[in-house]
């Protein structure tokens, strides 16, 4: 995998991220919105990994370099863990809402209207 430029990975990540953003805005189904958020998280993960692999920040090898690669992967791991927790709680909330009012539609949930 020598010669794939860093920018391609970043581009993929960025595209996924913007797609997720658009999805969050235009979808009315909370589950789908959740999925879009997951999409954004994964885009971020991809970016982390790409930077960890190519590491434009750390130009000198050695200690700092190794810690930099590792830092990127650590971030990804923690993002995954947090995403798991977030999904568990979020889906629980969705189920609770559904049980409360037999339908799920973000535009119907405007009880907080000022």
């Amino acid at each position: 995998m020598q010669d794939v430029p860093l920018s391609w990975y970043l581009g993929l990540g960025l595209f996924m991220f913007s797609t997720g953003v658009v999805g969050v805005v235009i979808r009315r189904n909370p589950v789908v919105v959740f999925m879009c958020i997951e999409l954004m998280l994964n885009a971020v993960n991809l970016t982390f990994l790409a930077f960890a692999r190519y590491m434009p920040a750390v130009l000198d090898a050695g200690e700092s370099a190794r810690s930099a690669w590792m830092a990127g992967q650590m971030m990804v791991i923690f993002v995954m863990a947090v995403a798991a927790a977030e999904v568990a709680v979020g889906l629980g909330i969705i189920m609770a809402i559904y049980r409360l009012r037999n339908e799920i539609d973000l535009d119907e949930m405007s009880a907080l209207r000022g």
């Binding site: 990975y9 235009i26 589950v31 994964n42 692999r53 690669w69 189920m95």
Partner: protein
């Protein structure tokens, strides 16, 4: 255009398509499926980045657990059918899409282009091996690791509390 680039382009194209599918499909189940595909392909993208451990973890966590949960909830709540009344007002969609493209354009132009000169990976070959990750995770990052475990515990308790009808 080397084989690696070819492979990457194929993966990336599929992933991008799947990502668009997540947003575009009217039926949540199809969105979920395309998200699964996206994550699965993303795992291979990780492999191309040399992060085997994380790629597998990606499949294990996202594809294997999180997305199954999503499907489970979708089916449990009968959200499977493409919701008819989920018509979003056109202008909102238009604005959102435009803004999305704006975001893409700005960041791509201002951040990614300057970085386009980096083509050589600098990390070690096995920087993504389980040994490397394990050593780093349990030496330098043990404290965040523990905190994350606590977070997950809280997540478990919270989801049970939310999902159970009577505790």
């Amino acid at each position: 255009m080397t084989s690696n680039q070819l492979v990457f382009l194929m993966l990336a194209g599929l992933a991008a398509l799947a990502a668009v599918g997540v947003v575009a499909f009217p039926s949540p189940v199809r969105s979920a499926i395309s998200l699964v595909i996206n994550f699965f392909i993303l795992a291979f993208v990780y492999f191309t980045l040399g992060a085997q451990m994380l790629g597998i973890t990606q499949i294990l966590v996202y594809t294997g657990a999180i997305m199954v949960l999503f499907l489970f909830v979708i089916m449990l709540l009968n959200l499977g059918a493409p919701d008819a009344k989920a018509k979003v007002s056109g202008w909102q969609t238009a604005v959102a899409v435009a803004l999305g493209f704006g975001l893409f354009g700005i960041v791509a132009g201002q951040v990614i282009l300057p970085l386009s000169s980096f083509t050589q990976p600098r990390s070690a070959i096995d920087y993504g091996s389980p040994q490397a990750i394990g050593q780093t995770l349990f030496t330098g990052y043990v404290w965040p690791f523990e905190i994350t475990s606590v977070l997950l515990l809280v997540g478990i308790v919270g989801s049970i509390l939310l999902a159970k009808r009577r505790i």
